[in-house]
């Protein structure tokens, strides 16, 4: 069975949407990535850090999905990274009310020995130096390294970000970030520029407008499933990335055609994630549900046109 190494935050989120609000609940990029990847037949491990305030039940939830937590550092007396945000009415934008880095401020990632030869590495959104440190700890070149990042690192740690981008195979980034990183408005041009920075594949996430996969002259577009109601978008991008990486780890096939499927699987899982607060929907998701919705993705985007 393939091994997937996941790096990212395990965190507390406190979320307010037009539909309600939560207390401090389980969140974080690595959490969502891990839960999504656990839908596939892979062994995975999380490298992250939390404080002593992280309830055992949350750790048990991850362990119950066969996620190896030996690389999750628990800092004695420390507090876990905490984010509080409020979504606007359209759920497409949000205000960050509180960000407390806490133990994340001095995070020194340690890759467990038995994951230093992992097949796939999923670098969730974190400081690029942390992401690079994980790559440097690998004793065997992974088949695939996927990196997720955001505009915050472009604003504050661009040289480090550009360095880690050199060493990855796939970058996932949203449309505005792709434009910011390259200075190109056209996503076709932006993707071409990013490919020159290192990654062979560029995935541009457009939220409710779907996602684009670029590789040389090839382009694939995966729609987002139009939903009656988006309840809480928190973690949708990480769920997408986790489904993408998990599927590729399971299938051990990094052809363009299989990356297309990986994007559909990622989009599929993300469409569930937004249906409830935090990780709730991902905790209760079965193969029948995901298969049924994959069919909806097919119906949504497949057509049979004859040339004239």
């Amino acid at each position: 069975m393939s091994k997937l190494l996941i790096v990212g935050t395990v965190a507390f989120d406190e979320i307010e949407t037009p539909f309600g609000k939560t207390d401090k609940i389980l969140g974080g990029a690595a959490t969502f990535i891990g839960l999504a990847a656990s839908q596939f037949n892979v062994e995975s491990a999380i490298v992250s850090v939390v404080g002593e305030d992280m309830p055992q039940k949350y750790l048990d939830l991850l362990s119950s999905r066969k996620i190896d937590l030996s690389g999750l550092e628990i800092v004695k007396g420390g507090k876990t990274f905490y984010w509080k945000g409020k979504y606007h009415n359209d759920l497409n934008s949000r205000d960050t009310l509180v960000t407390e880095l806490n133990t994340l401020a001095d995070f020194n990632p340690i890759v467990p020995e038995n994951y230093k030869e992992a097949d796939v590495v999923m670098l969730g959104n974190l400081h690029p130096s942390v992401q690079l440190s994980v790559i440097n700890q690998m004793t065997k070149k992974p088949k695939l390294i996927v990196l997720d990042t955001m505009n915050f690192w472009m604003d504050n740690s661009l040289p480090e970000l550009l360095e880690v981008i050199k060493h990855i195979d796939v970058i996932t980034i949203n449309d505005e970030e792709a434009r910011q990183l390259t200075g190109e408005y056209s996503l076709v041009k932006a993707a071409a520029k990013i490919e020159k920075m290192g990654p062979k594949y560029v995935v541009i996430k457009k939220g409710e407008h779907g996602a684009l996969l670029f590789h040389q002259t090839k382009i694939f577009f995966a729609p987002a499933l139009p939903l009656e109601e988006v309840f809480d978008p928190t973690g949708a991008g990480d769920t997408f990335a986790g489904g993408f990486a998990g599927y590729l780890a399971e299938t051990e096939n990094i052809s363009f055609d299989n990356l297309k499927n990986a994007i559909i699987h990622g989009s599929n899982l993300a469409s569930f994630s937004v249906e409830k607060f935090g990780t709730e929907r991902m905790e209760n998701l079965n193969k029948d549900e995901t298969n049924k919705r994959l069919l909806q993705f097919k119906e949504l985007s497949q057509f049979d046109i004859e040339l004239q």
Copy 2:
């Protein structure tokens, strides 16, 4: 051969984009619809109005595409509808600098006798009362009536708009307009509400993000082709509508599956239209080019996933 009746403006556009600017050139919804529909094997006619200032060469251009102009009123001493606009750097938004209704202000549409039994009616963006008048002149119920409209009429002529919407089969509208018309943010909910107003099919245009087709519980999504450069978006929506209606008129098949193809054809033609100013690209477009790009649409959106 099927007959397509087109209603809409034939106009002067003066356009400025980041790439350059034009003098007064040929524009208008009916113009773009007619040129797009002429890619298909249909007989079409335009019902519209212009002034004596409309150069014969522009009328000849339309006639050369076998577009019947007997329903195009030329008002003696009158001036043609004129729009001047300037696009912002991202080409996604624009400022209207001048709008002169001129002869359009008192337009009384007259459907030519030999088009009163047209198979398909494409009501381009115009005052809803004009659109309704055309429907009322039909002596035989058309197989399909497609209506395009915009937020201006929702703001200024909502009762008339709601009346005409009762009598149509397909509405094409953009995402913001669908939300304005229904008060629903979710496009799934908005489409369901619009279907209750009359049309069996709802097409929601999302510009560079593609288009959605809704019919009862069915949804189809057509991506826009990611382009290196968008030169001038003027007329893209009308070109989309013209390709959509033209293809349906040619194929005489209004099943959901064929409407999917119609949307792909509309998107395909719109992707050409934006490559040059005004109608320039549509004037020089051949089947080889459109077929080649249809293949790109297939590659862009087709995938072959196996359920697990």
